[in-house]
Symmetry: C2
Subunit: 186 residues, 2 copies
DNA sequence: GTCTATACACCGATAGAC
DNA sequence: GTCTATCGGTGTATAGAC
């Protein structure tokens, strides 16, 4: 309904994102979003027809930004290093947990999540394939497999670190760092 | 409060588990649990002081069962194969997503989740270490790192498969299957 | 665009009878 | 152990004034 891209529209998505991160999806209500940005609850329904729509838009905005950022990294001197650092340092496992749980029950969100995973994987495969080709070598597994494995590891490493579990982390991180150094130096 | 281990106690945990799996934690209410097992809402508060306690007990019962099962596998002819099959086939990523999201906001649950991860990792490390020693070889990475990596992969493989994403899955599964065959034959 | 007001349903938790 | 009844609060969503 309301104008996408307007100041209030963005403010509402910002609020929704913060609430998801800090309090979880059970706390993501139209009242909470309104209060957080200093408007009345009714206004949320002027900008979004349902709460589900607000959630989907929140994820979509995040996904678009992230994909754009990742594509930008393809042109840098060390794309693999950049992509890995993003995965491991700027990922918020709490926020991702909420979206993963929500995606199990919202068709609209699920479609967005699927699209995001597929596109981000494609970008990462492109980066790894190019890096391997430039050095005229393979990696013992097809790039798409290696990318899938690294993405899984990054997500679990981040999530467990937030919980306070670290068994095996140094070993996995070490192996990936060694691979990155071998591929891109520094 | 109420007698842990009684028929109603188990029925309530069963109900809670089903609701989490099917509808998510936002739908896990005392009324929903009561209705599902055919009792009145008040009775839920006779067995559990708070909803948080019910959630913690639901996870704990599940974790205890799972750890027992995993320990039992250490004595089988192919422990690595058994442990991997459990990870990849009987894991319900939806249920895990809910517990992961809940653990971000419930101290009691978080402690249980941490304990479970640490204990299951220890069992898996024991299995892998024994298997490597029996064959007098190493694996290019310390066992705990390999276990961490495999666990991450299993979780993401299951979760993505439920979403319908499969890019890179065959490659990762193939590599792990090859490793298992090399270690335990068949 | 933004508001007041409200319909209707559901929540956790408790009092207290049987 | 199990129930009826209820308190005070919150949820989505809508009607309609300004």
């Amino acid at each position: 309904m309301g104008p996408a891209g307007s100041a209030n529209w963005h403010a509402m998505l910002d609020g929704a994102e913060d609430i998801l991160r800090e309090e979880g999806y059970a706390a993501l209500t139209s009242r909470a979003v309104a209060e957080r940005i200093g408007v009345k609850q009714r206004l949320v329904y002027y900008y979004f027809a349902t709460m589900d729509q607000l959630i989907v838009e929140t994820f979509r905005r995040l996904a678009v930004r992230e994909l754009e950022r990742m594509r930008g990294m393809l042109a840098t001197p060390r794309p693999l290093r950049e992509l890995w650092d993003v995965c491991i340092h700027t990922t918020d496992a709490r926020l991702i947990s909420e979206f993963m749980a929500l995606a199990n029950r919202s068709e609209g969100l699920r479609a967005e999540v699927i699209a995001f995973i597929e596109q981000s994987r494609a970008i990462q495969v492109e980066a790894l394939t190019a890096a391997l080709a430039a050095r005229g070598r393979g990696a013992g597994m097809a790039p798409v497999g290696l990318v899938m494995l690294a993405t899984s590891a990054a997500l679990s490493l981040t999530r467990e670190a937030e919980l306070g579990v670290t068994a095996g982390h140094a070993e996995v991180t070490g192996a990936i760092e060694a691979f990155l150094r071998e591929m891109e130096g520094e």
